[in-house]
């Protein structure tokens, strides 16, 4: 009787162990599948604005994934600029936003606008993340060190060191014409950006 009980216990424990191991294997592969870390729902906005429409856009120079540096000043008098700050590489919404902009180049061209992408990640992380998006037509800049300095200048550095999901439209004179500090959990519709770029023509 005791022997039978022992066999029963061993079988049950063995089965539980197998269940746990296989479940872990499936969970792992699901995460690896997209290489994206699920951050869950976050506080929509976690910063205090420092800039408003009509202000001069703070200038900056940041390293790009390409190995070069990019200065905002280089576009003065030549191009309108759209800055897309996204909170962090390898997170759900951010990993979609830039691939969408990547196929919308004709729209940016139509409004004589240059898109600049910025995150607070370091260059190797940004490289790996943007590399899997294919060839980006716009520069991806790293605001890693001093950490989030540009995001802070623009009033969008969150308390956890990431940036807000924010869009700034800057005209050829270097003046901010549109600010969208968006709910970090949601992707801003392209329509809003197009509407604001259209307004630059007026």
């Amino acid at each position: 009787m005791v022997k039978r009980k022992r066999i029963y216990c061993e079988v049950v424990m063995g089965a539980i162990a197998v269940v746990c191991l296989v479940a872990m294997a499936y969970g792992g592969s699901a995460t690896l599948k997209e290489n994206v870390y699920d951050v869950g729902a976050l506080k929509p906005i976690d910063s205090v604005p420092k800039l408003k429409v009509g202000d001069k856009a703070p200038v900056f120079t940041l390293p790009a994934v390409s190995g070069k540096t990019v200065s905002l000043a280089r576009y003065r008098g030549k191009k309108n600029v759209v800055i897309s700050f996204v909170p962090a590489a390898w997170t759900p919404v951010c990993s979609e936003q830039w691939p969408g902009y990547n196929i919308a180049k004709p729209i940016f061209d139509q409004y004589d606008a240059q898109l600049i992408g910025i995150t607070v990640d370091n260059i190797p992380t940004l490289y790996a993340w943007t590399h899997q998006m294919g060839q980006l037509w716009f520069p991806a800049l790293s605001d890693f060190w001093p950490h989030g300095a540009v995001a802070d200048q623009y009033g969008i550095l969150r308390s956890d060191g990431t940036s807000e999901r924010a869009l700034f439209v800057i005209d050829k004179k270097g003046i901010i014409r549109y600010i969208d500090i968006h709910d970090i959990n949601k992707r801003p519709p392209l329509d809003d950006l197009v509407r604001e770029l259209e307004r630059l023509k007026k």
């Binding site: 066999i7 079988v11 499936y26 392209l190 329509d191």
Partner: protein, 191 residues
Amino acid sequence: MMTRTMIFFAALAVCLFALNGARVAAENPTITGAVLAPIKLLVPQDPTAKNYLGLTGEGSFAISQIKAQVVIIEIFNMYCNNCQREAPRVNELYRLMNKDPKLKGKIKMIGIGVGNTPLEVEVFKKTYKVAFPLFPDADYTIHKACGEVRTPYFIGVKIKADGSLNVFLTKEGGFKNPAQFLKQIVTSSGL
């Protein structure tokens, strides 16, 4: 000892079978054999798309009103990198469907851009020169009805006489070979 080993392997087999079932269900919320939840879409204004789907009038229509026996629905997202990569193969699938005289008119294809506005869908359509009709699902209503599947996701439905939609095939992610996928569609649908 022999009995103990046999019991262990029997338990192992049962667990693996049960887990595999759970995995399939998790990956395919719109399960083969299910009846697809009713989906309402706006009648396209583009006459070519309207004509392809065999629709008349304006307003909304149900997928069962599409003039076909089988409809392939691609759930995509203009922002999704995988959907962008898959677009040329999906276009090829559409081309093959129309090229085969035995299938022409029997199978139709549509795409639903989840979380996408009409403008975002239009950007995707223009970039990849998508020839089949695409519809926006800006508020994710259809996405929710389809079990919030990952994109791209393909659902094959047969339109039954009573207007219900029988799901005969689902496919998460891309397909490597459009011709093979079409063969699978034809075999699974019984066309």
